[in-house]
Each structure stands twice: as structure tokens, then as C-alpha cells.
Symmetry: C2
Amino acid sequence: MTAADLEKILSPADIRGKSIEELAQLASAMRKTLIEKLAAHGGHVGPNLGMIEAIIALHYVFDTPNDKIVFDVSHQTYPHKMLTGRMKAFTEPAHYDDVTGYTAPEENPEYDLFSLGHTSSSVALAAGLAKARDLAGGEENVVAVIGDGSLSGGVAFEGLDYGATLGTNFIVVVNDNDMSIAENHGGIYADLHLLRNTNGTGEPNLFRSMGYAYRYVNYGNDLRSLIDMFRSVKDIKYPVVVHLNTMKGMGLPVAEANKEAFHFSGPFNPETGAPVMADAGEDYEGIFTSLMSELMSQRKDVVTITAGTPGAIGFSKELRKAAGKQFVDVGIAEQAAVDVASGLAKGGMRPVVGFVSTFLQRAYDQFAQDIALNHQAATFVVFYGSVFGMNDETHLGFFDISLLSNIPGLLVLTPTSKEEYEAMIRWAVDQKTVPVVVRTPGGQVVSRKDIDILKDYSHPSYEIVREGGKVALIGVGTFFETMKEAADKLKTKGIEVTLINPRSVSELDKSALDRLKDYSLVITAEDGVVDGGYGQKVASYLGTSSVKVVNLGLPKKFLNKYSAKELVEACGLTSDSIAERVEAEA
Amino acid sequence: MTAADLEKILSPADIRGKSIEELAQLASAMRKTLIEKLAAHGGHVGPNLGMIEAIIALHYVFDTPNDKIVFDVSHQTYPHKMLTGRMKAFTEPAHYDDVTGYTAPEENPEYDLFSLGHTSSSVALAAGLAKARDLAGGEENVVAVIGDGSLSGGVAFEGLDYGATLGTNFIVVVNDNDMSIAENHGGIYADLHLLRNTNGTGEPNLFRSMGYAYRYVNYGNDLRSLIDMFRSVKDIKYPVVVHLNTMKGMGLPVAEANKEAFHFSGPFNPETGAPVMADAGEDYEGIFTSLMSELMSQRKDVVTITAGTPGAIGFSKELRKAAGKQFVDVGIAEQAAVDVASGLAKGGMRPVVGFVSTFLQRAYDQFAQDIALNHQAATFVVFYGSVFGMNDETHLGFFDISLLSNIPGLLVLTPTSKEEYEAMIRWAVDQKTVPVVVRTPGGQVVSRKDIDILKDYSHPSYEIVREGGKVALIGVGTFFETMKEAADKLKTKGIEVTLINPRSVSELDKSALDRLKDYSLVITAEDGVVDGGYGQKVASYLGTSSVKVVNLGLPKKFLNKYSAKELVEACGLTSDSIAERVEAEA
């Protein structure tokens, strides 16, 4: 099939008359097209290549969009997009950016039911759809698709538990490729392994124990097997799990061989797998892993923890192996990651959890109850908590300042350079009294050799980098450098300002702020949403004095695929804009 | 045994030499003592009465405090407290208030490892302790106790999944009394039922499917059975689940017969079960249930949802029965409650989730991703989100304003009276475009017949109740009445002020606030923590104008067993204090 043939497919109706042979040709052409786009453009490689046949079979058998499919985390939905009116975004390089990497109702409201990018929610969402159908007297099929890796997330279990009680049509397709983002961790994976090794006949069976009928497809990339199975469960009158044994990265040898590296990849050479883009040089993940590897080798009480995203925090297979028992991956299970850290701290260890900002949201209650309320001195290092982090609407890193800094007793540190970053993590690991969050700065690595390192970060203590004039610039984390640049620009114009690194956003250094009460202007800049953030605390504290306060930061919006440069400019978070504001005031 | 005999038990060591007969006498005396305290003082009745024997057996067999026990939600730990140095708090009415209702490290740091009051976390916390033991080369037993109701919470599953991978001593005691707070809901409960009915031999077996060895105790209130079982798993070298079939409310006929009513109870007559305290009259739970029952009977698309706490939102067994399929209890599974609501809204239904403030924390990610980002017009009604709510440090209702109002696109409404409360819920259910949170006011029910009801609450629109002078009082929700009283007091002294009900705390009514820019003073008062809350948004917005802003609200602290009256006074949240402040300024 040519690209032109593929482009004739405008909706699933266009594939429903085809023979198995034609569908096989379609799968082959889609795979070739997908590999071309992935190699040139980057994206989720393994999850999509492994699901081409299953997604063809789902749309072939089920009467979509009348029948409803909810794709978990939705990073396996490129084939779905190809079949639902968006083929050109895969066949034509000029249109590659027409689609996002996730289901997107704004692209196709009929077929993309939710904007999803966090794992494990598809089953509960689909259960809600099924309940709505039952109340409305409808007869459509409701299908939830979920990967084996996503099954470890608590909400997946909650959704399965509720879904089993529906007693009506509810089809959960488990896409089991024997991999999470990295390898799987958890007791349930031994059971999935057993089921795969026994052609689905083994006992115990997790899904049956939760109240589901159970079917197994051993050749989860075979169209005939998939179509037969989906036909057999279509219009079923009770909840059923269809367990597919699929191959992550299917059809691309480098991806089949390196499943973790090709879960998600930037542009790559499809023959060798080599990345197209040169290594960007020093980054904070590398600084973090070097530091943690050093600490773990020196001290047997230091433990590094991840909730299923070791790569995102810089821990390659080799580094994990070197850390041995001191590296813990709890699976995609953020709540457990925080609670296991709490238990480790209580047991005398020094746990450090590396978290992607957008995923730590899933553990707010554990941060509040099991860490902060219980004074467990665990350390949490946040990655991509920045405007310079991920820019999918589902993966924004803007919200964690508001989320974590308003929890009593949780110290949220905001280093401004690699030296301060290292110093803060070292201190957090050394002390045993305070739970600490360290926000990894966004953007390029910054070095500040003149940094004033503290022996104790537990009490609010602002670094007054320079003092003068009646304007103070408070630059938080990433945006300290911007404030410093603004201060430098103003200095060349003869305007002196006070420049402050607050070091922490969870409590105010009131004595430092008291010195600003007779200033004319205080500007705060933070790498997070203004609402509920640090600047508003300063505005509130200084609310009864005459000094004016301006809070700069990001808007309270779910932005999608934004340009960081443009966003930063629009928010006035550039040194030019800040300097102009001060000049206008002065 | 007399009270004096009981009081001789200072630690578990004091029961370890006893015979089974003596232990049975101990259990009997503890039960009698516990019933007397519960009847006179109130507390968690059923959970504690059902676990007396198991807790005696645990402390008898295991070498506590060297061996570690983590009690889930810890509302079953009164017998534990009796055996660990706190007997007088049960035998002597004058000392009843010496202990809290939950494990409390400040009462006994050796035996109470965590302050716990939210369900489902014990397994993950204990897994962390077990991992710490393994890294330190220790040999102590680590035991997690969890109830069947708590098993439905996602973090329980995450903890079980991780715990199974430890490969070392890890003992999970499942206290199965066939009840959650109300009846259980979820697919796993059919499996627990099967296991109980087959003396633990049935298949499938949830726990084995997750990687645990499995043991069953059919007589979970029989000391001999329990002791034999715990002896058999003590020092076990791998993870095991010990499934106990216990009787909630054991030994108190009214509690055995009315398990839901006697999960938690105020003081009651132990013979009849009748409550000692008279019905307090009209309350917001009653207003909510009347309204929802009316709406559900009129409209088949309205669905009321709870995550395992139907009683806390006013839905008695009778009301649930009347609502039929339009009432959904997903079990203790807050994340699923939010996602099921999202699916229901997507499917055209009008879901209303009733949430206890402190528990909605567990679903932040679902509020953000699956409701707000996806614009699903579900309604969430928050109960006990108030200084006048629960006052255990684990159950505070201060944090939800900061948590929810900083999520983009989530409308958080703060009614000031029953008329406004009803109007806001009715509007939220009628419209289909905006996800809405309605915070139930705290304290006594307030009636404001002159309330200005809006046709549309989706856009910020402050109610300017009266206008005058150069001071504005903005009273949020519960504290509108306080502000109104302050305004009235000031009026008697000839001081006119502007009085505002902001109606919502998630977005500012900027045109209303712009009119305050030439005021001398704006005071905000909200029923939540100041940090990250509504007032700080106002302070930030008015930061560049000359008006002074004072933000009143609650401190960012985990307070325990506070007096609401004293706390409100300490925070300046009284009409006298506010009036004085205005007078000082004017």
C-alpha cells in the first residue's frame, strides 16, 4: 500500500470491508509509515509499534465511534489516529505536527474521548462510560485498553474493582508486552508471566480474582487471533478481561532489542538506533545520578527510589545495576513510592525519590499524611518542574510549587545552580529531621561558583546576593538567573537593585522580607503557576506595607505544545521585561 | 479482671507469660472496659470490638516493639493502646481524653510507628520498613494490618504489589469483617466472600495472584486460632497474607446488628444503641440528601457518588435504596470516584460526588487530569472542609481550597447559606460545561433569604452585599456571616464598610476588585489555610495598588484535637477582632 492508499482511510468504516490479507497489508504499510515518522520526528516508539494489529482489530470488530474505546495513557494511539481521519499526520512530514502524541478530543471528538497522558485511569473512566450507558439504556460496547505497566497504578486497580461490579458489558483489553517504561516491578507481574507461559490457563489469575471473565490471546500481534477474540467478546453481557501477549517495538529490530531505550525516543537512525541529535551535554539528570551514585556507594543507608520512570531521572540500566539493592523501582505507583520512602526513613534509611513533576501529583495525600504529618525525613527530587520541561497539556510541570509548598512541614527547596542543587541534596540526605523537596532547575545547567552554601537549609534564609536601591528582585530557582541578568542590565543604567535568591518556597524568611517594607517595589519570579505559589505568599505578607508587589510566573492554564520562549516572554519572565518594569517604576 | 488488674498491664511483655484462659479473661475485661468507654465517650465502635483478640494475639506472639506492626487507618487500635502503656485512658473516665483515636507516635513512639487516619497506606509503609530492615541486615518481623474495606484503596494495591517483591519476611494481616464503613463494593469482595466460604481454599485467590503465600483463620475472634496462626508465620522468610475472618462490633449486640451505624458513634446507650445526644437539628448533610433525592427522582440522568463514605454525606441505607441505580458507592477509592464521575459526565449523565474534604486529597491527579483538563462537567460537593469539621490531625478540612482552586478550569464555589448552597448545586447539575466544586459551609446552618441567586455561576461575580466607606470585608463561605456581623457592629459605631461575598475562590472578579483599589483596607476571611488560598490571590492582584490587604484564615499546620472556638479566635476570625482591626485602621 502506498501513502496515497493509506490516506484514503478516513475512518474505521473504510477498513471494515477488508479481508484479513488486506488488513495485514494495511498493518504492514502503517508500520512502515510509523517507523519513518518515528525515526524522523521522535515519539513513543515501542508502545505504538506493538499495538498496530490490536488497534486495527479493535476498529475492525467494534462499531466505533458508537462503541467506545478508552486508551490508557494513550501513548499507543498513533495507529488509532491513523485510522480515524488523521493519516496525513503520519504519511506527510509537513503534517507531522498536526497531531499530538496522545488522544486529543480537539483533534477528533468522536474517536478521542479523553485527553490522557497519565497512566492507569482508562479502566475507571471507561467504567463511568459503561455506567452512563446502563443508566441511559444504551447497548454500545465499552472497551478500556490498558498496558501491563500501567496496571501497577492504584487507580487502575480501583477502576477494575469498581468495573467488575457493573455486571454488564465492560471489556478490558490488557496490552501485555512484558514491559513498563523500563522493566516491570511488582507481585502481579509474576502472575502475568505465569498466564503468558500457560496460554492463559494458569492459576492464580489476578483478573478472575477481581471478578472478571478472562480470555487470553497468545499471538497479540496476529490479526486473525485478535479479530476472532474481539468478535467473541463483542456485545458480551458481563465484564471481561482480554489479555493480549504483544511485542513492544514489533517490526523495528532496534526497538525490539532495546525496549527501554525505544519506549520513547527522539529522532533516530532506524537501522542502528543511534540518536540523530547530539548529546546536549551536561544536564541535571546527570548531576543527580552522579551524586546519588556517589552517595550510595559511600553510604549503605542511602536508597534511590523511582515510580516506574528510572530513565527520566537519569538512572540507566547500568547505574541501576551498580546501585543494586539501594535502587528501588516500585513500578508506576507514585503513592507507594512516597509511602515506601516514609517507611524507609522511619526504619533509619535515607531515601531519595526522583519524581517527574507531573506524576508526583498522584501522591499528594501520601506527601501530606505519611511524609509531612509524620515528619519523615525523606528527600524528593523533582524533575521537569519547569516551563522548560515537558509541554504536553497532560505533562506540565507548573503545578508542584502550589501543590507541595502548601503542605505543613514539607520543606521545598529551589536551587538556582548546580552547586546549590548538589549542596541541597547532600544536606537533605545528611539530616534526619525534615522532609525535603528539591526542585531541579529547568533549562540549561547553571554554575554559580560564588554560591553561599548553608550548613542547614531547614529554616528560611534568603540569600541576599546584592543589596541596594528601593527595588528588590526575588528570583526563584530557574528564574534567579533571569533576575540576575535584569539586575546587571539595570546596573549598567545606573539603577541599583536588591537581588535575592529565596532558596525555598515553602516558608517565608520574614526578617529578610521585613527589610523590604520601605521599598517601592518587589518583583517575584518563579518557575510555576502564580496562583497558590510563592509570590502570592510574599504579596500577602507585604500586603499591609506600602511596598508594591508584582508576582511573575506562569498562567493557571492547561497549555498544550507551547513554545517555552514565547510563553516566558508573554509572562514577562525575561530580563529585558523585568528591567523595563523596574525602570518604569524607578 | 478488674480495672486495677488491667492497669497492671504496662506493655505487651506483661501478657506474654499468660495462659490462653488468662488471655481470654483479658479479652473479656478489655471488651467490657472498651464498651463502657465507647458508650460514654463515643469513638470507633465496630472496628475496635472486632480486633480485640487479634491485637492481643499479635502482641502475645510477636516481639513488639522490636517486631513492627503498622495498623491501617488505625481506628482499630484502642486495644493496642490498652496493651501498650495507655490502659488508664480506657479504664478511667477522667483519662478518656488522654489518647487520640488513632496511633499516635507522640503518645508512644515505640509502639505507634505512624500517625495514621487515612486508609490503605499500611502495606506500603510497612514494605518500606521491611526494606529498611533488609538493607540494615535486621531480622525483626514486619507486620501490616489492613481491613477488607481499606483494600479497595489504590495505594493498598500498590503497596501489596511492591511488598510481594521483597522476597523476605513481610506479613500482611487482612482483618476481614465483611464490611467497609458501610457495606463493601468492588469485584475483590466476591473473592473475599469465596475465600471465607471455603475456609480459605477457594480459587481464584487475590492474594496469591499478587505473589503472596496465603493463610486463613476462620475464627478470627478466637485467641487460640489466632495465636497458632501468628506463631506459624512468625519469622517467615517470604511475604505472606494472613486472612482473618472477624466480626465487626463483636460482643456488643447493637453493634453486631447495626454494623454501619456502629462503625463510628457518638455516646450511646449500650443496651438499646440509642444515641445519648439529641439530634442537632438541621444540617447541611440533610439539605444535601434532600436536594439530591429530589433531583434523582425527577431526573434519571443525575447520579450521586461516594467513595466509601455514604454516611458522612448523609446517605443512609434507606436513601441509598431509594436512589437505586442512581447511587454509586465505588468503595474506598477516591481516584476511581473522580474518574467514574468523569466517565459518567462524558456519557451524558450528571454525576455529583460527595466527598469528605480530607479524603478528596487522594484524587488530586484525577481532579486535574480527568476532570479539569478534560472539561468534564461533574459536580463535587465537599463536606467538613472547614475549621468546624473534624479536628484530628489526620482529618483536617483546611487544605482543599489551596488544593482544588489552583487547578485550571475547576470552578470552586463557596456558598454562604443554605439557599445559596442549594442554588449552586442545582445550577452545577443543570449545566454541562464546567466542572464544579461546591464547598459545604461549616458550622451551624445559615439562612439568607435575601440571597442574590445567579442564573450562571461560571464567571466570577462577587455579591456586593453593601457598599460604602474605604474598607472592604470579603467573607468567603462559612466566614461571610462573621464578616457580616463585623460590618453590623461597625455600623452601630458609625463606620460604613463594603461587604462582599465572593461566591467563588478559584478565579477573581477583577472588576469588583478594581473598585477596591482606592480603598484603604481590604480584609479577606476564608475557611481554609491562608497559604495558597483565596486571600493571597487578592493580595497579589491588589499588590500594585496602594490598598492594604489582610488575609485571615487558618495556619498552615497539622493541628490535633484543637478547639474550633479557640482556633478561630487565635486566627482573628471573629467579628469582634475584625471590627477592631477596621476601627484601628479607620
